[in-house]
């Protein structure tokens, strides 16, 4: 009960401090404190713009990650009953002109939100991490970006990542290829910056696990006969022998034609064919059907990797509050990276955050469009402390330095 009185006293102090504000909700019940999450988006975020392909096809459609956060809050209701904490979510959409860190601090003053689920563009995330690096009262969650520099040179002690890094995703594909002995790889990539970066990450994984890249080719979405060595799939895939095609196509408009069109009968991994994700709606082990059905019932859609990351952020914080019997942001933050934290991500093994870069270590699902084919780490890939750390940059390789920020 000691923690209870601690929470109560903290809340009453906050209430006193904010006594002037008329926007305060009715004072929390005598024994119940309030813990506020904030879901933050950016106006006109390109990620959420409708991206219609030719003939009006929707090749990919982004859905708000708020749904999953609300689901997790609902699930935490009974945990709140035990800890006598009421969990709440507020929402904010940044205007085009808003500075991210100023806006977050303002929201913190007004709503008393402690944990921020950031569904915002990469640049915003990096600048928030820099500007708020010394903040003691905020905890930010990256629930959407796999960008490796966020866990490396651009890491921030206030940002936690529930979404897996691209390095983790690519490592899981590489592990699977090792297991299948499909070791000669032809890499095809688009001309976008993201495609190049993803290919670089994959090449790093290939080296890490001793596979072999037989060629890297860039494709172009065009009908121009002068460019046929970059537009014709047979020409792109027929000049050398290989076991498997790795495809990096973050746009998806070209890559979707590659399976079944390659010169040789070889499978495709990466952006098409076998993909690596944090979550998949057909995952049927470790309690996943229950989570998928809950999500589906609530949102009338299928849960994806980013939804899972949003859900996981809320679940890990609420679980931490109940376990440590405190709502103190610093205490939560140090619990998240502690060895004793064992969060249930519905992927079969307990997950917690890497101390060196605040990345959630987690299994990765390798799936096709309607089935999960394997779960990485693949059996047999071992690590001196935790097999989950065979995925992504391990501590000695990490360029993240929290003190440096």
């Amino acid at each position: 009960m000691a923690y209870l009185s601690m929470i109560i006293s903290r809340v009453s102090i906050i209430l006193l401090l904010l006594a002037g504000s008329a926007t305060l909700p009715a004072a929390a019940q005598e024994e119940e404190s309030e813990f506020v999450f904030a879901y933050v988006t950016r106006e006109a975020d390109p990620f959420y713009q409708k991206q219609r392909a030719y003939t009006g096809l929707k090749l990919r459609e982004a859905k708000p990650l708020k749904d999953a956060a609300l689901l997790a809050l609902g699930e935490s209701r009974i945990l709140g009953r035990l800890a006598r904490v009421k969990f709440k979510l507020v929402e904010m959409m940044l205007k085009k002109s808003d500075n991210i860190s100023t806006a977050l601090l303002k929201l913190h003053r007004e709503s008393n939100a402690s944990v921020y689920l950031l569904d915002i563009p990469l640049n915003d995330l990096i600048s928030a991490g820099r500007a708020l690096a010394g903040e003691q009262e905020l905890l930010l969650f990256n629930i959407r970006h796999g960008e490796d520099s966020l866990r490396g040179e651009n890491c921030s002690p206030v940002i936690f990542h529930t979404y897996p890094s691209n390095a983790m995703l690519m490592d899981s594909i590489a592990q699977y290829l090792v297991k299948k002995k499909w070791s000669r790889i032809l890499a095809l990539r688009g001309s976008m910056k993201e495609d190049k970066r993803l290919t670089e990450t994959f090449v790093r994984s290939v080296k890490k696990f001793g596979l072999n890249i037989v060629g890297i080719k860039e494709f172009t979405l065009s009908n121009d006969p002068r460019l046929r060595d970059r537009t014709n799939i047979s020409l792109l895939t027929g000049s050398t022998s290989y076991d498997i095609i790795f495809l990096a196509d973050t746009q998806g408009d070209f890559g979707r034609y590659i399976p079944y069109s390659a010169y040789y009968p070889r499978p495709v991994v990466g952006s098409e064919g076998l993909k690596a994700s944090a979550w998949h709606w057909t995952w049927e082990r470790h309690g996943a059907p229950q989570l998928n059905q809950r999500f589906d019932r609530r949102t009338k859609r299928r849960m994806n990797g980013r939804d899972w990351a949003s859900w996981m952020a809320v679940r890990s914080v609420t679980e931490a509050i109940v376990r440590i019997k405190s709502s103190d942001v610093q205490e939560i933050s140090s619990y998240l990276v502690s060895e004793s934290a064992t969060f249930d991500g519905y992927k079969g093994v307990p997950v917690n955050f890497r101390r060196w870069n605040n990345q959630l270590r987690q299994p990765i699902l390798l799936h096709v469009h309607n089935a999960v084919i394997a779960r990485a780490p693949i059996d047999g890939f071992l690590h001196r402390s935790n097999t989950l750390d065979t995925l992504g940059l391990d501590h000695p390789e990490s360029s993240c330095n929290f003190q440096g920020n």
């Binding site: 699930e75 009974i78 309690g287 229950q290 809950r294 064992t342 249930d344 307990p350």
Partner: protein, 343 residues
């Protein structure tokens, strides 16, 4: 039992030759003892629910498959009725509980509108069934004679194991996703306590003296022990069969023998059953079984332990005297629960 039999049969003695009387009495004498050590009671049948196959596999007393019957979708938890003439099957994807006649294996009733039932326990009054509704974060109370829903209790997400005490005063419910054990006070008809336990609590076993409640924590790889008087966690038992990593050990079903000496714990992904000395809380042995062992059942004489292996679609039968697996029998897709009719 023997003196009673003697008295009943005394009237026949005059009509029978002495020789036959003696033989008869000797047989009676043997049978009355023998019945404690064989599983000849009941029909001797074993019923297995196959979660993904939507079937029930029926074994006879010699563990041969005699029948496979189509049942509802996602059959999981099962329980005998009080008089053991019927049994209940929780049909997860049909949101109902099917009631079967044990002798004929015919469907004789349904309790409907039970949101995704997973497991349940029958209150000692024989009438009240406490059902965990996995998707609804509730436990519902049904009258099995009328099918009427009598009460609903809010729990954490994914309630699973349900355990009533023999005095009928308390019902314990494990909430998998909230890491809580809820305590329902039957008289007050409310949840009186939420106990925080380790990650992903699944199933229960009470020690015969009902002083300790054992709870398997699947993702933590341990069994938590709750003291019934204080309703507090007092100890854990960790499991680690040779050659396995901690995260592969995912205990689910727990059974404690009637004499309270031994416990059996199905270790899920570690493909073993742990045998525990209840008093010292130490693991005596790990027995290799099939893949993802979850469901457990003991014969009435506790000589045989049945283990449902969800990912190898078979059951393993263990001889509890020498603690060895005797044989495994292929059943349906993803076997989940086991009932043995040998009382």
């Amino acid at each position: 039992m023997c003196p009673t039999s003697f008295l009943i049969d005394y009237s026949y003695i005059k009509q029978l030759r002495l020789r036959w009387v003696i033989i008869f009495l000797v047989i009676l004498f043997i049978c009355s003892f023998k019945s404690f050590s064989s599983n000849a009671r009941g029909s001797g049948r074993t019923i297995i629910s196959n979660e993904k196959g939507n079937t029930l596999t029926i074994l006879d007393s010699s563990d041969k498959i005699i029948q496979t019957i189509d049942t509802c979708t996602r059959p999981r938890g099962m329980h005998f009725s009080e008089n053991r003439k019927r049994f209940f099957v929780g049909c997860g994807d049909d949101s109902l509980i099917a009631i079967y006649d044990l002798a004929t294996l015919e469907l004789v009733g349904r309790i409907t509108n039970v949101a995704q039932p997973e497991t349940f326990d029958l209150h000692p009054n024989g009438k009240h069934l406490y059902v965990s509704n996995e998707e609804d974060a509730t436990v519902t109370l049904f009258d099995v004679t009328t099918g009427e829903q009598l009460a609903e209790f809010e729990t954490g997400e994914e309630p699973e194991g349900v355990q009533t005490t023999s005095d009928g005063k308390f019902v314990f419910v494990a909430s998998e996703a909230a890491n809580l054990v809820h305590v329902i006070d039957v008289d007050k008809n409310i949840v009186v306590k939420d106990i925080l336990v380790d990650t992903r609590p699944r199933r229960f076993a009470l020690t015969p003296d009902e002083q300790e409640l054992w709870v398997s924590a699947e993702l933590a790889g341990v069994v938590n022990i709750i003291d019934i008087k204080s309703l507090k966690l007092i100890d854990d038992i960790a499991f680690l069969p040779t050659g396995f990593r901690k995260e592969q050990v995912t205990p689910v079903d727990v059974l404690i023998t009637k004499d309270g000496v031994r416990a059996y714990v199905a270790l899920g992904r570690a493909n073993h059953v742990a045998v525990v000395d209840v008093k010292s809380r130490e693991v005596i042995k790990y027995i290799l079984v099939g893949k993802r062992a979850w469901g457990l059942a003991l014969t009435h004489d506790e000589k045989k332990l049945y283990v449902a292996n969800g990912l190898s679609d078979d059951i393993t039968i263990i001889d509890t005297d020498n603690l060895r697996a005797m044989k495994s029998i292929p059943v349906g897709l993803v076997p989940y629960g086991i009932l043995i009719d040998d009382h």
